[in-house]
Protein backbone atom coordinates (compact mmCIF):
# COMPACT_ATOMS: atom_id res chain seq x y z
CA UNK A 1 0.00 0.00 0.00
CA UNK A 2 2.67 2.44 1.07
CA UNK A 3 4.99 1.49 -1.79
CA UNK A 4 2.17 2.00 -4.31
CA UNK A 5 1.59 5.42 -2.88
CA UNK A 6 5.31 6.11 -2.96
CA UNK A 7 5.64 5.09 -6.63
CA UNK A 8 2.57 7.11 -7.60
CA UNK A 9 4.00 10.09 -5.74
CA UNK A 10 7.33 9.85 -7.57
CA UNK A 11 5.50 9.52 -10.86
CA UNK A 12 3.30 12.54 -10.14
CA UNK A 13 6.27 14.70 -9.23
CA UNK A 14 8.17 13.61 -12.37
CA UNK A 15 5.17 14.53 -14.55
CA UNK A 16 4.82 17.83 -12.72
CA UNK A 17 8.48 18.73 -13.21
CA UNK A 18 8.27 17.81 -16.90
CA UNK A 19 5.30 20.17 -17.28
CA UNK A 20 7.19 22.92 -15.46
CA UNK A 21 10.19 22.50 -17.76
CA UNK A 22 7.88 22.61 -20.77
CA UNK A 23 6.06 25.71 -19.57
CA UNK A 24 9.25 27.65 -18.89
CA UNK A 25 11.20 26.45 -21.92
CA UNK A 26 8.49 26.84 -24.53
CA UNK A 27 8.62 30.63 -24.97
CA UNK A 28 12.43 30.54 -25.05
CA UNK A 29 12.73 28.03 -27.90
CA UNK A 30 12.11 30.78 -30.39
CA UNK A 31 15.03 32.83 -29.05
CA UNK A 32 17.32 29.86 -29.52
CA UNK A 33 16.28 29.02 -33.09
CA UNK A 34 15.08 32.11 -34.98
CA UNK A 35 18.27 34.21 -34.85
CA UNK A 36 20.13 31.55 -36.83
CA UNK A 37 17.31 30.85 -39.29
CA UNK A 38 17.66 32.05 -42.88
CA UNK A 39 13.89 32.59 -43.19
CA UNK A 40 12.70 33.13 -39.64
CA UNK A 41 9.00 32.97 -39.00
CA UNK A 42 7.14 33.36 -35.79
CA UNK A 43 6.95 29.56 -35.54
CA UNK A 44 9.71 27.62 -33.84
CA UNK A 45 11.43 25.43 -36.41
CA UNK A 46 14.68 23.66 -37.03
CA UNK A 47 16.70 26.50 -38.50
CA UNK A 48 18.40 26.48 -41.86
CA UNK A 49 21.58 27.65 -40.22
CA UNK A 50 22.95 31.10 -41.06
CA UNK A 51 24.74 33.99 -39.44
CA UNK A 52 23.50 36.50 -42.00
CA UNK A 53 20.97 37.91 -39.53
CA UNK A 54 23.81 39.12 -37.36
CA UNK A 55 25.20 41.01 -40.34
CA UNK A 56 21.81 42.66 -40.88
CA UNK A 57 22.01 44.04 -37.35
CA UNK A 58 25.14 45.94 -38.31
CA UNK A 59 23.23 47.69 -41.10
CA UNK A 60 20.40 48.91 -38.89
CA UNK A 61 21.02 52.56 -37.99
CA UNK A 62 19.93 52.30 -34.34
CA UNK A 63 20.54 48.72 -33.28
CA UNK A 64 24.26 48.80 -32.49
CA UNK A 65 24.15 52.37 -31.22
CA UNK A 66 21.41 51.38 -28.80
CA UNK A 67 23.68 48.78 -27.21
CA UNK A 68 26.20 51.58 -26.69
CA UNK A 69 23.45 53.71 -25.13
CA UNK A 70 22.46 50.85 -22.83
CA UNK A 71 26.10 50.54 -21.78
CA UNK A 72 26.42 54.26 -21.04
CA UNK A 73 23.19 54.38 -19.05
CA UNK A 74 23.64 51.11 -17.17
CA UNK A 75 27.34 51.77 -16.50
CA UNK A 76 26.76 55.37 -15.43
CA UNK A 77 23.95 54.43 -13.08
CA UNK A 78 25.92 51.51 -11.61
CA UNK A 79 28.90 53.81 -10.94
CA UNK A 80 26.78 56.45 -9.21
CA UNK A 81 24.82 53.89 -7.19
CA UNK A 82 27.90 51.99 -6.02
CA UNK A 83 29.91 55.08 -5.04
CA UNK A 84 27.12 57.01 -3.31
CA UNK A 85 25.58 53.94 -1.65
CA UNK A 86 28.96 52.73 -0.39
CA UNK A 87 29.81 56.10 1.16
CA UNK A 88 26.41 56.43 2.78
CA UNK A 89 26.28 52.81 3.96
CA UNK A 90 29.74 53.01 5.49
CA UNK A 91 28.98 56.18 7.40
CA UNK A 92 25.61 54.83 8.57
CA UNK A 93 27.16 51.56 9.65
CA UNK A 94 30.08 53.00 11.61
CA UNK A 95 29.04 56.41 12.89
CA UNK A 96 26.00 57.27 14.96
CA UNK A 97 24.54 59.89 12.68
CA UNK A 98 21.56 61.57 14.38
CA UNK A 99 18.22 60.15 13.24
CA UNK A 100 19.86 57.13 11.65
CA UNK A 101 17.25 54.52 12.44
CA UNK A 102 14.38 56.69 11.26
CA UNK A 103 16.31 57.46 8.10
CA UNK A 104 16.86 53.79 7.33
CA UNK A 105 13.21 53.01 7.95
CA UNK A 106 12.10 55.77 5.59
CA UNK A 107 14.60 54.63 2.96
CA UNK A 108 13.28 51.09 3.05
CA UNK A 109 9.73 52.36 2.84
CA UNK A 110 10.53 54.68 -0.07
CA UNK A 111 12.31 52.06 -2.10
CA UNK A 112 9.16 49.97 -2.28
CA UNK A 113 6.48 52.66 -2.36
CA UNK A 114 7.75 55.15 -4.93
CA UNK A 115 7.93 52.98 -8.02
CA UNK A 116 8.41 54.13 -11.59
CA UNK A 117 4.76 53.37 -12.23
CA UNK A 118 3.53 55.55 -9.41
CA UNK A 119 5.96 58.40 -10.09
CA UNK A 120 6.05 58.52 -13.89
CA UNK A 121 3.97 61.68 -14.19
CA UNK A 122 5.99 63.91 -11.82
CA UNK A 123 9.29 62.42 -13.00
CA UNK A 124 8.45 63.23 -16.61
CA UNK A 125 7.44 66.72 -15.54
CA UNK A 126 10.57 67.22 -13.43
CA UNK A 127 12.84 66.00 -16.23
CA UNK A 128 11.13 68.35 -18.69
CA UNK A 129 11.69 71.37 -16.44
CA UNK A 130 15.31 70.47 -15.70
CA UNK A 131 15.97 69.95 -19.45
CA UNK A 132 16.86 66.33 -18.81
CA UNK A 133 14.57 64.83 -21.45
CA UNK A 134 16.55 63.13 -24.23
CA UNK A 135 19.81 63.10 -22.28
CA UNK A 136 21.80 60.16 -20.93
CA UNK A 137 22.44 61.97 -17.67
CA UNK A 138 18.68 62.39 -17.15
CA UNK A 139 18.09 58.65 -17.37
CA UNK A 140 21.12 57.95 -15.20
CA UNK A 141 20.07 60.33 -12.41
CA UNK A 142 16.43 59.22 -12.38
CA UNK A 143 17.15 55.48 -12.25
CA UNK A 144 19.97 55.98 -9.71
CA UNK A 145 17.57 57.81 -7.41
CA UNK A 146 15.26 54.81 -7.60
CA UNK A 147 17.96 52.21 -6.95
CA UNK A 148 19.87 54.01 -4.18
CA UNK A 149 17.63 53.30 -1.16
CA UNK A 150 17.74 49.52 -1.63
CA UNK A 151 21.46 49.67 -2.43
CA UNK A 152 22.23 51.60 0.78
CA UNK A 153 20.16 49.18 2.78
CA UNK A 154 21.83 46.07 1.41
CA UNK A 155 25.34 47.53 1.67
CA UNK A 156 24.76 48.68 5.24
CA UNK A 157 23.81 45.14 6.20
CA UNK A 158 26.97 44.01 4.49
CA UNK A 159 29.18 46.50 6.32
CA UNK A 160 27.56 45.76 9.67
CA UNK A 161 28.63 42.16 9.20
CA UNK A 162 32.25 43.18 8.51
CA UNK A 163 34.43 43.31 11.66
CA UNK A 164 36.07 46.62 12.51
CA UNK A 165 39.35 45.13 13.70
CA UNK A 166 41.30 45.85 10.48
CA UNK A 167 40.25 49.47 10.57
CA UNK A 168 41.20 49.75 14.23
CA UNK A 169 44.67 48.30 13.74
CA UNK A 170 45.31 50.51 10.70
CA UNK A 171 44.37 53.47 12.83
CA UNK A 172 46.79 52.40 15.52
CA UNK A 173 49.52 52.52 12.89
CA UNK A 174 48.57 56.11 12.08
CA UNK A 175 46.60 55.78 8.86
CA UNK A 176 44.22 58.65 8.12
CA UNK A 177 40.47 57.91 7.83
CA UNK A 178 40.52 58.30 4.05
CA UNK A 179 43.56 56.04 3.71
CA UNK A 180 41.77 53.43 5.83
CA UNK A 181 38.75 53.65 3.56
CA UNK A 182 40.74 53.30 0.39
CA UNK A 183 43.18 50.61 1.42
CA UNK A 184 41.28 48.62 4.05
CA UNK A 185 37.52 49.03 3.77
CA UNK A 186 37.08 48.99 -0.01
CA UNK A 187 39.05 45.76 -0.52
CA UNK A 188 37.22 44.05 2.34
CA UNK A 189 33.72 44.90 1.12
CA UNK A 190 34.54 44.41 -2.57
CA UNK A 191 32.17 41.41 -3.00
CA UNK A 192 29.28 43.53 -1.71
CA UNK A 193 30.20 46.38 -4.05
CA UNK A 194 30.41 43.98 -6.98
CA UNK A 195 27.00 42.52 -6.18
CA UNK A 196 25.43 45.97 -6.08
CA UNK A 197 27.18 46.98 -9.30
CA UNK A 198 25.92 43.92 -11.16
CA UNK A 199 22.44 44.34 -9.72
CA UNK A 200 22.28 48.00 -10.75
CA UNK A 201 23.69 47.26 -14.22
CA UNK A 202 21.19 44.46 -14.80
CA UNK A 203 18.20 46.50 -13.60
CA UNK A 204 19.02 49.46 -15.84
CA UNK A 205 20.01 47.26 -18.79
CA UNK A 206 16.63 45.51 -18.71
CA UNK A 207 14.62 48.53 -17.55
CA UNK A 208 12.03 49.94 -19.91
CA UNK A 209 9.53 52.41 -18.45
CA UNK A 210 11.81 55.29 -17.38
CA UNK A 211 13.90 55.09 -20.53
CA UNK A 212 10.76 54.98 -22.64
CA UNK A 213 9.34 58.08 -20.94
CA UNK A 214 12.53 60.14 -20.81
CA UNK A 215 13.91 59.54 -24.30
CA UNK A 216 12.28 60.57 -27.56
CA UNK A 217 15.34 60.51 -29.79
CA UNK A 218 16.04 56.98 -31.12
CA UNK A 219 19.74 57.85 -31.37
CA UNK A 220 19.84 58.10 -27.56
CA UNK A 221 17.51 55.20 -26.78
CA UNK A 222 18.81 52.02 -25.15
CA UNK A 223 18.22 48.56 -26.56
CA UNK A 224 15.14 47.95 -24.39
CA UNK A 225 13.31 50.80 -26.13
CA UNK A 226 14.74 50.21 -29.63
CA UNK A 227 13.66 46.58 -29.54
CA UNK A 228 10.10 47.65 -28.76
CA UNK A 229 10.09 50.14 -31.64
CA UNK A 230 11.44 47.49 -34.03
CA UNK A 231 8.24 45.54 -33.69
CA UNK A 232 5.67 48.24 -33.17
CA UNK A 233 6.53 50.66 -35.95
CA UNK A 234 5.21 49.85 -39.39
CA UNK A 235 3.00 47.00 -38.23
CA UNK A 236 4.93 44.12 -39.73
CA UNK A 237 7.68 43.09 -37.32
CA UNK A 238 11.11 42.59 -38.78
CA UNK A 239 11.71 39.09 -37.46
CA UNK A 240 15.32 38.50 -38.50
CA UNK A 241 16.31 41.69 -36.80
CA UNK A 242 14.21 41.26 -33.67
CA UNK A 243 15.24 37.71 -32.88
CA UNK A 244 18.92 38.30 -33.50
CA UNK A 245 18.95 41.56 -31.64
CA UNK A 246 17.07 40.04 -28.68
CA UNK A 247 19.74 37.41 -28.37
CA UNK A 248 22.61 39.89 -28.52
CA UNK A 249 20.91 42.16 -26.03
CA UNK A 250 20.05 39.37 -23.56
CA UNK A 251 23.47 37.75 -23.49
CA UNK A 252 25.27 40.29 -21.27
CA UNK A 253 22.60 40.04 -18.55
CA UNK A 254 22.71 36.26 -18.56
CA UNK A 255 26.51 36.28 -18.48
CA UNK A 256 26.53 38.73 -15.58
CA UNK A 257 24.20 36.55 -13.54
CA UNK A 258 26.26 33.46 -14.31
CA UNK A 259 29.38 35.34 -13.25
CA UNK A 260 27.86 36.46 -9.97
CA UNK A 261 26.30 33.13 -9.11
CA UNK A 262 29.52 31.33 -10.02
CA UNK A 263 31.72 33.66 -8.03
CA UNK A 264 29.66 34.53 -4.98
CA UNK A 265 26.88 31.95 -5.11
CA UNK A 266 23.38 33.07 -5.93
CA UNK A 267 22.72 34.81 -2.68
CA UNK A 268 19.18 35.54 -1.83
CA UNK A 269 18.37 39.18 -1.15
CA UNK A 270 14.68 39.87 -0.73
CA UNK A 271 13.72 42.54 -3.22
CA UNK A 272 17.06 42.76 -4.93
CA UNK A 273 15.28 42.69 -8.25
CA UNK A 274 13.01 45.63 -8.88
Amino acid sequence: MNTVRHVLGRLASAVFLALVVGFFALPMLWLASAPFDATPSITVSIPEFTLANFRAILDNPYALGSIGNSLIQAGGAALIVVVLAALAAYALSRVRVPGRDALLYVLLLLSSVVTGTAAMVPIFELATRLNLVDTHIGVILVVSGGLLPAAIFILKDFMDATPTSYEESARVFGASPLQILRHIVVPVVRPGLATIAVWAMASVWGGFLMQYILLRDPAKSPSAVILYTLYTEGGQPNLDLISTFSLLYSLPVVLMYLFVSGRYGFRFHGGIKQ
Partner: protein, 298 residues
Protein backbone atom coordinates in the same frame (compact mmCIF):
# COMPACT_ATOMS: atom_id res chain seq x y z
CA UNK B 1 27.54 48.65 15.39
CA UNK B 2 28.54 52.14 16.43
CA UNK B 3 32.28 52.12 16.79
CA UNK B 4 33.74 54.72 14.49
CA UNK B 5 36.74 52.51 13.79
CA UNK B 6 38.32 54.62 11.06
CA UNK B 7 37.92 57.85 13.02
CA UNK B 8 35.62 59.35 10.43
CA UNK B 9 33.94 61.80 12.77
CA UNK B 10 30.37 62.91 12.71
CA UNK B 11 30.68 65.79 10.23
CA UNK B 12 32.53 63.70 7.67
CA UNK B 13 29.94 60.96 8.13
CA UNK B 14 27.17 63.41 7.33
CA UNK B 15 29.15 64.46 4.27
CA UNK B 16 29.28 60.82 3.17
CA UNK B 17 25.54 60.34 3.50
CA UNK B 18 24.54 63.65 1.93
CA UNK B 19 25.20 63.06 -1.82
CA UNK B 20 23.03 59.94 -1.82
CA UNK B 21 20.31 61.71 0.12
CA UNK B 22 20.31 64.65 -2.29
CA UNK B 23 19.84 62.34 -5.28
CA UNK B 24 17.10 60.37 -3.53
CA UNK B 25 15.49 63.60 -2.40
CA UNK B 26 15.37 65.17 -5.85
CA UNK B 27 14.44 62.13 -7.95
CA UNK B 28 12.39 60.04 -5.55
CA UNK B 29 10.98 61.99 -2.60
CA UNK B 30 10.25 65.22 -4.41
CA UNK B 31 8.34 63.54 -7.29
CA UNK B 32 6.26 61.61 -4.77
CA UNK B 33 5.33 64.79 -2.90
CA UNK B 34 4.83 66.75 -6.09
CA UNK B 35 2.28 64.16 -7.21
CA UNK B 36 0.05 65.33 -4.39
CA UNK B 37 0.14 68.94 -5.61
CA UNK B 38 -0.14 68.10 -9.34
CA UNK B 39 -3.11 65.88 -8.56
CA UNK B 40 -4.99 68.89 -7.23
CA UNK B 41 -4.56 70.90 -10.46
CA UNK B 42 -5.94 70.74 -14.01
CA UNK B 43 -2.39 70.70 -15.38
CA UNK B 44 -2.09 69.51 -19.00
CA UNK B 45 0.77 68.70 -21.33
CA UNK B 46 -0.36 71.22 -23.96
CA UNK B 47 -2.87 74.05 -24.33
CA UNK B 48 -4.09 76.74 -21.97
CA UNK B 49 -3.95 74.66 -18.81
CA UNK B 50 -0.29 73.86 -19.57
CA UNK B 51 0.73 77.51 -19.34
CA UNK B 52 -1.41 78.42 -16.39
CA UNK B 53 -2.65 75.44 -14.39
CA UNK B 54 -5.43 76.08 -11.88
CA UNK B 55 -5.96 74.36 -8.57
CA UNK B 56 -9.17 72.41 -8.89
CA UNK B 57 -9.19 70.76 -5.46
CA UNK B 58 -10.43 67.22 -5.27
CA UNK B 59 -12.07 67.35 -8.73
CA UNK B 60 -9.59 64.92 -10.26
CA UNK B 61 -10.27 62.42 -7.51
CA UNK B 62 -14.04 62.59 -7.83
CA UNK B 63 -13.73 62.36 -11.64
CA UNK B 64 -11.41 59.35 -11.39
CA UNK B 65 -13.51 57.50 -8.83
CA UNK B 66 -16.61 58.08 -10.95
CA UNK B 67 -14.90 57.16 -14.24
CA UNK B 68 -15.94 53.78 -15.57
CA UNK B 69 -12.60 53.29 -17.27
CA UNK B 70 -10.77 53.89 -13.97
CA UNK B 71 -13.04 51.48 -12.11
CA UNK B 72 -12.58 48.79 -14.71
CA UNK B 73 -8.80 49.19 -14.74
CA UNK B 74 -8.70 49.04 -10.94
CA UNK B 75 -10.70 45.80 -11.11
CA UNK B 76 -8.39 44.44 -13.82
CA UNK B 77 -5.42 45.26 -11.58
CA UNK B 78 -7.02 43.29 -8.74
CA UNK B 79 -7.50 40.34 -11.11
CA UNK B 80 -3.94 40.68 -12.31
CA UNK B 81 -2.49 40.65 -8.77
CA UNK B 82 -4.72 37.82 -7.53
CA UNK B 83 -4.32 35.72 -10.66
CA UNK B 84 -0.68 36.14 -11.54
CA UNK B 85 0.94 36.89 -8.16
CA UNK B 86 -1.07 35.21 -5.41
CA UNK B 87 -2.31 32.17 -7.34
CA UNK B 88 0.18 31.98 -10.20
CA UNK B 89 3.60 32.90 -8.86
CA UNK B 90 3.16 31.94 -5.22
CA UNK B 91 1.24 28.74 -6.02
CA UNK B 92 3.55 27.52 -8.74
CA UNK B 93 6.65 28.71 -6.88
CA UNK B 94 5.65 26.79 -3.77
CA UNK B 95 4.72 23.68 -5.78
CA UNK B 96 8.11 23.63 -7.50
CA UNK B 97 9.99 24.22 -4.24
CA UNK B 98 7.97 21.46 -2.51
CA UNK B 99 8.49 18.88 -5.24
CA UNK B 100 12.20 19.65 -5.47
CA UNK B 101 12.94 19.71 -1.73
CA UNK B 102 15.81 17.40 -0.94
CA UNK B 103 16.46 16.84 -4.64
CA UNK B 104 19.94 17.55 -5.98
CA UNK B 105 21.59 17.02 -9.33
CA UNK B 106 20.81 17.82 -12.97
CA UNK B 107 17.00 17.87 -12.75
CA UNK B 108 17.07 20.54 -10.09
CA UNK B 109 19.66 22.57 -11.96
CA UNK B 110 17.66 22.47 -15.22
CA UNK B 111 14.36 23.42 -13.56
CA UNK B 112 15.91 26.20 -11.47
CA UNK B 113 17.95 27.45 -14.41
CA UNK B 114 14.92 27.77 -16.67
CA UNK B 115 12.74 29.42 -14.03
CA UNK B 116 15.54 31.88 -13.20
CA UNK B 117 16.22 32.61 -16.86
CA UNK B 118 12.63 33.70 -17.42
CA UNK B 119 13.16 36.10 -14.52
CA UNK B 120 16.44 37.70 -15.58
CA UNK B 121 15.85 38.21 -19.31
CA UNK B 122 15.09 41.87 -20.17
CA UNK B 123 11.40 42.86 -20.31
CA UNK B 124 11.41 43.82 -23.99
CA UNK B 125 12.81 40.44 -24.92
CA UNK B 126 10.39 38.32 -22.89
CA UNK B 127 7.52 40.43 -24.17
CA UNK B 128 8.46 39.59 -27.72
CA UNK B 129 8.96 35.91 -26.86
CA UNK B 130 5.36 35.82 -25.65
CA UNK B 131 4.08 37.67 -28.69
CA UNK B 132 5.77 35.00 -30.82
CA UNK B 133 4.36 32.24 -28.63
CA UNK B 134 0.78 33.50 -28.74
CA UNK B 135 0.74 34.83 -32.31
CA UNK B 136 -2.41 34.19 -34.28
CA UNK B 137 -0.76 32.95 -37.45
CA UNK B 138 1.80 30.31 -36.74
CA UNK B 139 2.48 31.13 -33.09
CA UNK B 140 4.15 28.20 -31.32
CA UNK B 141 1.14 27.60 -29.08
CA UNK B 142 -1.31 27.33 -31.97
CA UNK B 143 0.97 24.90 -33.78
CA UNK B 144 1.32 22.85 -30.62
CA UNK B 145 -2.39 22.77 -29.77
CA UNK B 146 -3.38 22.50 -33.40
CA UNK B 147 -5.64 25.55 -33.10
CA UNK B 148 -4.66 27.63 -36.14
CA UNK B 149 -5.93 31.19 -36.06
CA UNK B 150 -6.76 31.29 -32.34
CA UNK B 151 -6.09 34.91 -31.36
CA UNK B 152 -5.13 34.51 -27.69
CA UNK B 153 -4.09 38.11 -27.20
CA UNK B 154 -7.31 39.45 -28.70
CA UNK B 155 -9.78 36.96 -27.24
CA UNK B 156 -8.22 36.44 -23.80
CA UNK B 157 -5.96 39.42 -23.13
CA UNK B 158 -6.20 39.28 -19.33
CA UNK B 159 -5.64 35.53 -19.17
CA UNK B 160 -2.66 35.93 -21.50
CA UNK B 161 -0.90 38.54 -19.38
CA UNK B 162 -1.75 36.66 -16.16
CA UNK B 163 -0.11 33.49 -17.48
CA UNK B 164 2.73 35.60 -18.83
CA UNK B 165 3.44 37.20 -15.46
CA UNK B 166 3.26 33.83 -13.73
CA UNK B 167 5.96 32.64 -16.10
CA UNK B 168 7.94 35.84 -15.63
CA UNK B 169 7.99 36.07 -11.85
CA UNK B 170 7.72 32.58 -10.34
CA UNK B 171 11.49 32.50 -9.70
CA UNK B 172 11.30 34.77 -6.66
CA UNK B 173 8.62 32.71 -4.91
CA UNK B 174 10.34 29.47 -5.81
CA UNK B 175 13.62 30.59 -4.24
CA UNK B 176 11.95 32.06 -1.18
CA UNK B 177 9.93 28.92 -0.49
CA UNK B 178 12.91 26.67 -1.21
CA UNK B 179 14.82 28.57 1.50
CA UNK B 180 11.81 28.41 3.84
CA UNK B 181 11.33 24.66 3.38
CA UNK B 182 14.90 24.08 4.52
CA UNK B 183 13.73 25.20 7.96
CA UNK B 184 11.26 22.32 8.17
CA UNK B 185 13.05 19.36 9.79
CA UNK B 186 12.74 16.30 7.51
CA UNK B 187 12.30 14.12 10.60
CA UNK B 188 9.02 15.85 11.43
CA UNK B 189 7.69 15.17 7.93
CA UNK B 190 8.87 11.59 8.19
CA UNK B 191 7.09 11.11 11.51
CA UNK B 192 3.89 12.55 10.10
CA UNK B 193 4.16 10.32 7.05
CA UNK B 194 4.70 7.20 9.16
CA UNK B 195 1.67 8.15 11.23
CA UNK B 196 -0.30 7.98 7.99
CA UNK B 197 -0.74 11.68 7.28
CA UNK B 198 -1.55 12.50 3.67
CA UNK B 199 0.51 15.05 1.75
CA UNK B 200 -2.19 17.62 2.36
CA UNK B 201 -2.18 16.94 6.10
CA UNK B 202 1.61 17.14 6.21
CA UNK B 203 1.49 20.49 4.45
CA UNK B 204 -1.22 21.82 6.73
CA UNK B 205 0.04 20.56 10.08
CA UNK B 206 3.83 20.40 9.74
CA UNK B 207 4.90 22.76 6.98
CA UNK B 208 2.43 25.63 7.13
CA UNK B 209 3.00 26.64 10.78
CA UNK B 210 6.74 26.88 10.14
CA UNK B 211 6.68 28.96 6.97
CA UNK B 212 3.75 31.25 7.77
CA UNK B 213 6.03 34.28 8.01
CA UNK B 214 7.66 33.52 4.67
CA UNK B 215 4.29 33.13 2.98
CA UNK B 216 3.12 36.51 4.22
CA UNK B 217 6.39 38.22 3.22
CA UNK B 218 6.21 36.65 -0.20
CA UNK B 219 2.57 37.61 -0.75
CA UNK B 220 3.14 41.23 0.21
CA UNK B 221 6.23 41.70 -1.94
CA UNK B 222 4.97 40.00 -5.08
CA UNK B 223 1.60 41.76 -4.81
CA UNK B 224 3.37 45.11 -4.57
CA UNK B 225 5.62 44.37 -7.54
CA UNK B 226 2.85 42.92 -9.68
CA UNK B 227 0.56 45.82 -8.92
CA UNK B 228 3.26 48.19 -10.25
CA UNK B 229 4.30 46.02 -13.18
CA UNK B 230 4.49 47.75 -16.55
CA UNK B 231 5.93 44.87 -18.61
CA UNK B 232 2.69 43.46 -20.13
CA UNK B 233 2.21 46.86 -21.76
CA UNK B 234 4.78 45.63 -24.27
CA UNK B 235 2.52 42.68 -25.10
CA UNK B 236 -1.04 44.05 -25.22
CA UNK B 237 -0.57 47.81 -24.64
CA UNK B 238 -3.77 47.56 -22.58
CA UNK B 239 -5.88 46.45 -25.51
CA UNK B 240 -7.96 45.36 -27.21
CA UNK B 241 -10.44 48.09 -26.25
CA UNK B 242 -8.91 48.49 -22.82
CA UNK B 243 -9.67 44.92 -21.81
CA UNK B 244 -6.20 44.45 -20.33
CA UNK B 245 -5.72 48.04 -19.20
CA UNK B 246 -4.43 47.58 -15.65
CA UNK B 247 -3.86 50.69 -13.52
CA UNK B 248 -0.25 51.50 -14.60
CA UNK B 249 -1.33 51.54 -18.26
CA UNK B 250 -4.31 53.71 -17.41
CA UNK B 251 -1.98 56.33 -15.89
CA UNK B 252 0.36 56.14 -18.85
CA UNK B 253 -2.35 56.51 -21.50
CA UNK B 254 -4.34 59.26 -19.79
CA UNK B 255 -1.42 61.30 -18.44
CA UNK B 256 1.52 60.95 -20.78
CA UNK B 257 -0.20 60.01 -24.02
CA UNK B 258 -3.47 61.89 -23.44
CA UNK B 259 -1.74 64.88 -21.84
CA UNK B 260 -3.92 65.06 -18.70
CA UNK B 261 -1.01 65.40 -16.29
CA UNK B 262 -3.03 66.68 -13.32
CA UNK B 263 -5.54 63.90 -13.60
CA UNK B 264 -2.81 61.29 -14.09
CA UNK B 265 -1.01 62.59 -11.00
CA UNK B 266 -4.19 62.12 -8.95
CA UNK B 267 -4.44 58.48 -10.05
CA UNK B 268 -0.69 58.07 -9.38
CA UNK B 269 -1.24 59.27 -5.85
CA UNK B 270 -3.90 56.61 -5.35
CA UNK B 271 -1.34 54.03 -6.53
CA UNK B 272 1.19 55.46 -4.06
CA UNK B 273 -1.32 55.11 -1.22
CA UNK B 274 -2.03 51.48 -2.11
CA UNK B 275 1.73 50.81 -2.28
CA UNK B 276 2.14 52.46 1.12
CA UNK B 277 -0.39 50.10 2.70
CA UNK B 278 1.46 47.06 1.35
CA UNK B 279 4.87 48.42 2.37
CA UNK B 280 3.81 49.36 5.90
CA UNK B 281 2.34 45.89 6.39
CA UNK B 282 5.59 44.37 5.16
CA UNK B 283 7.81 46.49 7.42
CA UNK B 284 5.62 45.72 10.39
CA UNK B 285 6.03 42.05 9.65
CA UNK B 286 9.82 42.40 9.46
CA UNK B 287 9.90 44.26 12.76
CA UNK B 288 7.77 41.63 14.49
CA UNK B 289 10.07 38.94 13.23
CA UNK B 290 13.13 40.80 14.53
CA UNK B 291 11.44 41.12 17.89
CA UNK B 292 10.51 37.44 17.98
CA UNK B 293 14.08 36.59 17.11
CA UNK B 294 15.47 38.77 19.89
CA UNK B 295 13.04 37.30 22.41
CA UNK B 296 13.97 33.80 21.31
CA UNK B 297 17.66 34.60 21.80
CA UNK B 298 17.11 36.31 25.15
Amino acid sequence: MNTDAAGLGRSRAVGFVLPALVLIGVFLVFPALWTIYLGLTDYRLTGLAAADPQVVGADNYTTALGDERFQSSLWLSVQYVLGSAIIGQAGLGFAIAWVMRGRRGPVRRVVEGLVLLSWILPSSVVAFLWIALLDRDGGTLNVLLNTPGAAWLLDHPMLSIIVFNTWRGTAFSMMLYAAALENVPPSHLETARLAGASTFQQLRDVVLPRIKGHILTNMLLISLWTFNDFTPFLITAGGPEGRSEILPFYVYTTALRGGQLGFGAAVSFLILLINLVFALAYLRLLRNRDRDLREAVA
